[in-house]
């Protein structure tokens, strides 16, 4: 999340500042706020359905629904997002539901796979237009579709099922060999994917 990091860096304290004093004096705790979750089951299901369109089940590996990206996204949006970002996200989910209703008179899960793809392509286009407007200085903030896509990819790649099916998962390798033969199609060693890399994948096409 480059933009968010840039914003955070503005908050860095310089020059004659007592670091940590404010929190220390106010007795403020560094504990994360409790995760109650701001998304209801219907929204979590919608995220799993959207996730399945973005990262579908295939013969060799699970889809996003199987690894339950919806609940993961609920955890992260609740714990990581600012109230403003949470509002963008919630408004975005409503916008998706409204779009399904307006164009197909159906809910997202009632659409055919082709219609779901079609809808997500529209969201891609909307996110692209939003970014162009941000670049022109006409809009600000992140588009909700980028948030959904980024968190879907992050939750998916960091899930147990994906680590163990799509990658060579080696919690205790025991050995290291520096140079082995590799044939295209051999699995890559699982490594932790973070929010930053997930963002890169999400915006690559936007």
């Amino acid at each position: 999340m480059k933009r968010r990091e840039a914003l955070q860096s503005l908050g860095v304290l310089f020059g004659g500042t007592i670091v940590g004093a404010q929190a220390f004096l106010s007795g403020c705790s560094t504990e994360a706020p409790p995760v109650s979750g701001i998304l209801n089951d219907r929204k979590i299901k919608l995220l799993n359905d959207l996730g399945e369109t973005l990262l579908p089940t295939t013969a060799d590996s699970p889809g996003a629904r199987q690894v339950d990206v919806g609940n993961f996204i609920n955890d992260i949006v609740s714990a990581f997002y600012t109230p403003e970002e949470q509002q963008i996200f919630l408004d975005g989910l409503k916008a998706v539901t409204d779009l399904c209703d307006k164009q197909f008179s159906k809910t997202y899960d009632q659409l055919s796979p082709e219609e779901q793809t079609n809808l997500c392509l529209q969201l891609e286009a909307a996110a692209k237009a939003h970014r162009a407007a941000v670049d022109r200085g006409e809009k600000s903030g992140e588009h909700y579709y980028v948030m959904i896509k980024q968190l879907t990819i992050w939750g998916y790649l960091s899930s147990e099922e994906v680590a163990k099916t799509a990658f060579k998962h080696m919690p205790v390798p025991g050995k290291y060999e520096g140079c082995i033969d590799y044939t295209p199609g051999d699995k890559a060693i699982f490594q932790e994917t973070g929010r930053g890399a997930s963002y890169w994948y999400a915006v690559k096409s936007i």
Binding site: G15, G20, A21, L54, C120, S158, G174, G178
Partner: protein, 568 residues
Amino acid sequence: MSYIITGKAKAGNTYDAIVIGSGISGGWAAKEFCEKGLKTLVLERGRNVEHVKDYPTAMKEQWEFPHRMEIPPQIRNQNPILDKCYAWNESTDHFFVKDEEHPYIQKKPFHWIKGYQVGGKSLMWARMTQRWSDLDFEANAKDGYGVDWPIRYKDIAPWYSYVEKFVGVTGNKDGIPHLPDGEFLPPFEMNCLEKHVKATIEERFEERHLIIGRRANHTERVGNRGPCMKRDRCYRGCPLGGYFSSNSATIPAAIATGNLTLRPDSVVHSIIYDEESGKATGVRVIDTHTKEMMEYYSKVVFVNASTINSTLILMNSTSSRFPNGLGNDSGQLGKNLMDHNYEGAVSGQHDGFKDGYYDGKRPVATYIPRFRNVGNDKRTDYVRGFSFSFEALRSPGNMEGIDAPFGADFKNGLFRLGSWHGGMGGMGEMLPYEENQMTLSKEETDQWGMPLVEFNCDFKDNEYKMLDDIVNSGAEMLEAAGFKNIKTRIRKKGIGLGIHEMGTARMGRDPKTSVLNGNNQLHAVKNVFVTDGSCMTSGACQNPSITYMALTARAVDFAVSELKKRNL
């Protein structure tokens, strides 16, 4: 101050030796004193951390962490300093001190990263252990920055060997005069691309080498520790004892003697100085639970609280003889603060070796020893030099030829192995400057009533000129080795983040210009020794911990022989 001095009998609080701090140097002081038969008290300001038992995240997978290993932004925002530390994430969070837990004052933004627990930062250190040579010990004398080291390589070489044999250092005997070989466990293997980069650099550039990293990871069993299982999760604490820490190695060795008393949750307030004998008699300690102040006594005191805190304790130990801090006749206490300059990095992509990969997770990178201002290489724009850490990797996430913004092909791209990438991180020597210093606030105090530390420290012209050369020469070597899309970065993250703070109680030959002598003894108070990073007279461009360990073992040996001669 409202602390109560306990009325306990002095005898019950008396030891042969007191060691302040249980990190990488304090652990060594404890082990050496205990093994030489001295009843030793180790004071640790943080909580106890027991090997294996207190490594709660060691076996966890990414999906088992509440936020998949990332720290929530609200907590990051509350910790603007710690947030800049490369090793802080959800898997290591319990070992790092939060900004609010020990506030300090930045007159200039020095980033102070802290680990307050038994074992200190030895739990999450980067484990790189290169010896110094006379290129480093003679540097100050030759170019005139700082003061001359009171020791040379021959003085410390046997002590490097002594500590390396116990630590367990993996490495290769490379025969490079200014990066002396040590007592090594078998080396890790380089991967396909690293071997190619090594061959290219050594063929194309005179007097440059690329070697496998020398690190305190155990490729063979060391005593009852290890071997390393190549999990590359060292920063969380290793339940297999695959790398060296105080917790896995020196503290258990000290406990085994029956001579160790370990007192966690004990902030040392000051060292007690006796005007009559001209010696220290013990220390004043604040119990972090009760806030009660108590005194402990000993014949000898080793200060190993980590650079900034060791200097803080000395500065806070005032008396009519030492109004400006214990042993501070020279006025050098708190000055000459150094770190290493890690601001320069170079990376690139390599399209060769597509049929090559590696197996396992190597916790060790390769290393390019210093080549600037060595032998025939003479820079006119700056003095000293830098080294590089270099690692080549192939990662999943290969989106080449995939235009679909989502769907099955896109998903497959996330799994596909990509090209090789290489990353070089420079580590530049920083000169000792008197004006780079820490002082104590006259107004502000912390939770324990200790004065807040103020920092006034900056990189200067020599460091910035070197930094340009770090990125340029790194890019030049990657280019020679056939890398594409080479990117150079000057990170501007700030001083302190090398987490190699050094120099604030420097060793030297002359009591007028240094705090410690060649045996790490306060010139003016012979039974107080300082053997952590604060003793360093210059910084070199090797990771410093193995030198702290060697100096500590050497100083304990000296102290015990002096005690036997009744000189202390």
